[in-house]
Every structure is written in structure tokens, then in C-alpha cells.
């Protein structure tokens, strides 16, 4: 009897929860259910509602609908809008999906309003934020956003001669005698390394130099050893490093050990690895106007300029920050969401932890570039 009552109660509770969840879904559930970003579709009778609807359409990649909601459609085509959001050339944006968005009213009058739209894009290398400030205008009883279009420059068809070096490698074959030579792996050296303690755990920072005359594919692995000599944890630098190093090039690296306390660590075993890979010295990317903005909102920003003739689809900027004694105090990185076109500056901005930003005396940036067909 008691069991039957329990079953009936559980059944009723389930039905009630299903009804509540359907009528008033939490935003995360709505997003999973494909109901659009962090918010459901709203009426365009308010500026926030209009921007919300626009973002919803974007999250569904319903570009036609998104375009139709705009009030400044005469200024650009639907294709321009799509290119603005997904990139004219293959880039991180091309492979990104709108994960979430936030609508924040800034100012409103009877006929015009300013609304900030923060688009959180999700990619395989993490998320990036695209913040736009939209003017929203009243049109009768409805509001329509004015999209601040960003038109990516188009490069005209042309031939750009480049004469940079390229390294190709022929390895020993399976038929060779065991005593036969193989190509030597590049010689790399850690030129700086030290651990610091952060809230998330222990972080091992440093720099790695390719001291050879050939390109190297590099990685760094660190093992924390406890007071009894036993390994506490082992991690590698993953993407907090520039994996391809040309001769005499230096990359920073950062290895994170979550939930480990530095007081438990007695020593650290570093294991840098390198292998010889085919590579090209092109493209050269200049980093212009580098600037470290102090706290609050400390950041390292600048512009990337592709000085080669090849379009760089994905650029990864790694910033190394040094204190007055020249020791590395932090390593931060950012993937640039737009493709680098020849001689066209693209901005980057890397957040820097505020407590560390105060210690920074100098900084250095390097760029790792990726294009279809492998490492560049």
C-alpha cells in the first residue's frame, strides 16, 4: 500500500515538474532545447526585446531572419551581415557557434535607445566575446536594431611573391640498417622556469628556446614531485605554448596544476620534447602598438599585421610578462577570431590578472599562425 502511494506521489511530482519546466524553462534548458541562447524570444515592443530577438536569430544561424529584424538593411546586404559574424575568410569565427548572449540597456529615449549586446561564441579552442553597442530605433510600435556592421576588407586578386625559407625533412627509411643515421631532433633548451601559486593551483611558467638551426615542434611536460619524491601530478603545456619554433625562436609556456598546493611540492621535473618538422618561415607577423593597460581591467593589446602574402586563418597570440628582474611573472594568450589579411591590422586584447599586472615591468608577444595544410 505504502509503495503504491509512493509511486503515485512520484508520478504526480514528475508531471508537475515537466509542466513547470515547459512553461518556465531555465535559460540553460531553453538553450539546450534550441529555444535560443540565454533568452527566449520576446516582443519587439521594447529595445531590449528587439535586440534579444536579433541575438536569438543569430544563435540559430537564421541569418535571413536576423537581417530582416534590422532597421539599417539598406546599408548592407544579408551576405555582409553573415560575413561580419562568421568572417569573410576562413577563421575562428567560421567554426564558432553562438553559445550565449547578454543584452544590456545603456540609454533610452522615446525614439532611440542604446543597447549593449555581448555575444559569447564557442570554439574548439575556447570562447571569445564579441561586444557590440547597438542603436535601436522606434518604428511605430516596434523597435528595430541598427546593426554596427564591420566590413572586413577584401583583398584584390593579385600575386604576391615571397622568398622565405622552407624546411623539408626526409627521415630514415624502414629498409635502412639500424646503425644508419637519422635526422637529428632539434636541440631545445628551457631558459627560464619557475612555479607560482594561484587560486586555482600551481602554475609553472617559463620560456623555451630552439637553439638549433632547424625548425622544431616542441612541447613541455612538467611533473611535480612531493617531499617523499613521489609524483604528485604531471601535465603538459597544451596550447599555452607556441608549438612551432623556428631557429633561435623563444616561446613562453604555462602549465597549470589545478588543486595542487605549492607547499606540497618539493621539486619539479621538466621534460621538454622536440621533433623535426617541415616548416616555412612565412608568414611574418608584425605586432604593432603593443600596450599593457594597468588595472582595473588590465590587458595587453596590440595589432597584428601579416607581412607575408598568405592569409593567416587563425592567429594565436602569446604574451609573456616580466618583472623588473626579467623573470617571467605570467603568460597569457588569445586566439584572434578574424583571419589576418596581408598588410591589414587586426586587433587583439589579452586580459592580465590584476595582481600580476602590477608587477609587470616589460612584456613580449609572439604569434603562432595556423592555416589549412599544417603548421606555418
Amino acid at each position: 500500500m505504502g509503495g503504491r502511494l509512493l509511486a503515485v506521489v512520484l508520478g504526480l511530482a514528475t508531471v508537475v515538474l515537466v509542466v513547470v519546466g515547459t512553461l518556465w524553462p531555465v535559460s540553460a534548458a531553453a538553450a539546450y532545447a534550441g529555444l535560443g541562447g540565454a533568452s527566449l524570444e520576446r516582443s519587439s515592443s521594447t529595445p531590449e526585446g528587439a535586440v534579444n530577438n536579433l541575438a536569438n536569430a543569430m544563435s540559430h544561424q537564421d541569418w535571413q531572419k536576423a537581417y530582416s529584424l534590422l532597421s539599417n538593411r539598406r546599408e548592407f546586404t544579408e551576405q555582409d551581415l553573415v560575413r561580419d559574424l562568421t568572417g569573410s575568410y576562413p577563421s575562428l569565427r567560421t567554426y564558432a557557434t553562438l553559445d550565449n548572449f547578454q543584452v544590456r540597456p545603456l540609454h533610452a529615449s522615446n525614439d532611440e535607445a542604446l543597447v549593449q549586446l555581448r555575444l559569447g561564441w564557442s570554439t574548439v579552442v575556447g570562447t571569445f566575446l564579441d561586444t557590440r553597442t547597438l542603436k535601436v530605433v522606434r518604428n511605430g510600435d516596434r523597435w528595430a536594431p541598427v546593426w554596427p556592421i564591420v566590413k572586413e576588407p577584401r583583398i584584390p586578386p593579385q600575386v604576391i611573391p615571397v622568398t622565405y625559407l622552407r624546411w623539408d625533412v626526409i627521415y630514415r627509411g624502414p629498409e635502412d640498417d639500424w646503425g644508419a643515421q637519422d635526422v637529428e631532433a632539434p636541440h631545445v633548451r628551457i631558459v627560464d622556469m619557475h612555479p607560482i601559486e594561484r587560486a586555482a593551483g600551481v602554475v609553472v611558467l617559463g620560456e623555451l628556446l630552439n637553439e638549433d638551426v632547424v625548425p622544431a615542434y616542441v612541447s613541455v611536460k612538467a611533473t611535480l614531485l612531493g617531499k617523499n619524491g613521489a609524483a604528485i601530478a604531471s601535465e603538459d603545456s597544451f596550447d599555452k605554448i607556441s608549438h612551432l619554433l623556428l631557429p633561435k625562436e623563444v616561446t613562453p609556456f604555462l602549465i597549470t596544476f589545478p588543486n595542487v598546493s605549492l607547499s606540497d611540492v618539493d621539486s619539479i621535473h621538466m621534460d621538454p620534447t622536440s621533433s623535426l618538422v617541415a616548416a616555412s618561415a612565412d608568414p611574418v607577423v608584425e605586432i604593432q602598438d603593443q600596450k599593457l593597460s594597468p588595472a582595473p581591467d588590465a590587458s595587453f593589446s596590440g595589432n597584428l599585421v601579416d607581412e607575408g602574402g598568405e592569409i593567416v586563418n587563425i592567429a594565436h597570440v602569446l604574451g609573456t610578462f616580466y618583472d623588473k628582474s626579467g623573470q617571467v611573472v605570467w603568460v597569457a594568450d588569445q586566439y584572434v577570431d578574424r583571419a589576418l589579411l596581408p598588410q591589414t591590422p587586426v586587433a587583439f586584447s589579452i586580459p592580465v590578472p590584476e595582481d600580476l599586472a602590477r608587477k609587470v615591468s616589460s612584456e613580449r608577444a609572439i604569434v603562432a599562425t595556423y592555416s589549412p595544410g599544417g603548421f606555418q
Binding site: 625559407l165 624546411w167 646503425g179 635526422v183 637529428e184 628556446l209 607577423v285 605586432i287 602598438d289
Partner: protein, 290 residues
Amino acid sequence: MSPGRTFLLASAMCAVGFPAAGQSGQLDLPKNVLVGQAFSIPNAGNGQGVLYIVGPSEALRIDVQPGQAIVIPAGDLDNAGHFVAVLSSGSSTETGEFDILPASQPEAVSFLAKPSRLPVDLQSGITGAVYVFDASQNLITAPTPVSFQLSVPSEAVQTRTVVTKQGAAWTEMNSATKEGNAKFVAQAGDVSATRVIEQVPGDPCALKMNAKKVGEQIELETDPLRDCNGNAVTDGTIVTFTESWNGGQTTVDVPLKHGIAEAQVPAINGARISVATGVVMGNEIRWSNR
């Protein structure tokens, strides 16, 4: 002979009674035999029998006629090592042991030369190790002189002679002061093996850049980069130009091309421009637009 067949033969030996329950004796065998050489085993028995010879990766089965010496033809036993012979004839079994020794004349060398690429002017930077083998690929364990020669065009040949210990000899050599491919030869008897060691320039010895204004830009160019032995630094080496001014910085990493690195940075009055490659710093220029 395959290991499987060796196993079958060994099993067969056990099957014929090794050690046999009947009469047993000692075979009259030579103590040592050179690999590949023919030899004979006296046979005073008066019945038909079978001789088994088992050694490293090798086994033989020979039918024996009464009263005839048993001849092991040249080339039948190729592997050096310790062998066991068992002659089974009727109810009697005779056994013996002997060693097949490797030939003293080297016919092949395995030459390990490390590294295949290294900077110039490095003391004891090159290592060569040689294993000496006879015609049947047996390691020659008897002391054998091995000559190592490292030669580079325009420099004296480095030569070392090392006597093998237990079949191996090794040496260390210095890399030359001039870049280029070195020929590293190891010779034992009449056989030799050659490896090529690539000797590459070292770190730049002096890094100096010059600057001139071109329009709104400063054109930076290094002097041809050379290491401390005068070798041109390899093209493709990354050179970093850094321009710093009050509150800003521009950096550009460029590869050397024809021994020179070039870059353009904005012409900013009062900017400090520095150059570096790897851990080597170059000169610094303070730019003035006047």
C-alpha cells in the same frame, strides 16, 4: 635454421634418449672451430646412428655410417657460440661440446655516429661507436683495431685508432671551426662505413643593426650575422626587432635571409629600438625624427 626447427630437433634429441639409458661416452671433438670452416668428428661406432649438433639459433641432424668419420662441411655452422653434439647409435650415446669462434677478419661494421648535426667548434661533441662483425654477422670479440677519421674540407683530418673491447670500439671527436659537412669514417680491416656530420654555425657573435627612415617608417637592417668563428649564421634564424616608446611597443620576428634580417617599424620620435636573436642581444638605437 628457424628457431621452431631447432626446437623440434632438440625435442628429437630428447626422444632418442639424451642422456640415453644405455652406454654413454664422450665424443672426440675439437675444442674450438672457426666459423664457416669444415671439420670432422671421428666415429669408431659399428652401427648406424644420428648426430645432432645444437647451438645458438642453429641445429644440424646428420645420419652417420658405421666407422666413417663425420664431416661437417664448410658453411654449415654460421653462428658463433657454444654448441652441443650428441651422437646416438643403437643403445649408445656419445656427447661433446665445442665452440664456434667468429672469424678474425672483419667483413662488416655497424657504425653509430651521433649527432648528425651539431654546432661548430664543440669539443668532444661527436661520438662514434663501431661494432665489428665477420662475414656471417658474428660479433668479433677478439681485439681488433678500428680507425676513426673525421675530415672536413680545408681543415686537418682528425684520426683516432681504438682497439675493440668485446667487439665494440668508440671515440669522441671535436667539431671543426668551419661549417659544412664532415665525413666521419670508421674502418676495421678492409671494411669501412661512412657517416656525414653536419656542422652548423653557432650563436651569432655580434648582432648589429642599422636604421634609416623610409617615409613614415624606420627601415631596420642587421649587418650580416656571423658566429664567433666567422661562419654565416643560417638563413631562417629568427631575429626579433623591438621598438619601445612611452607606453607602447612594436615587435617583429623576422627570419634571416641571405644572412641579413630586415624589418620596418613606425618612425616614432624618441623610440628605443633593440634587436635580439635567441639569447643574444644586439645593439640599441634611440630614434630621433630630427
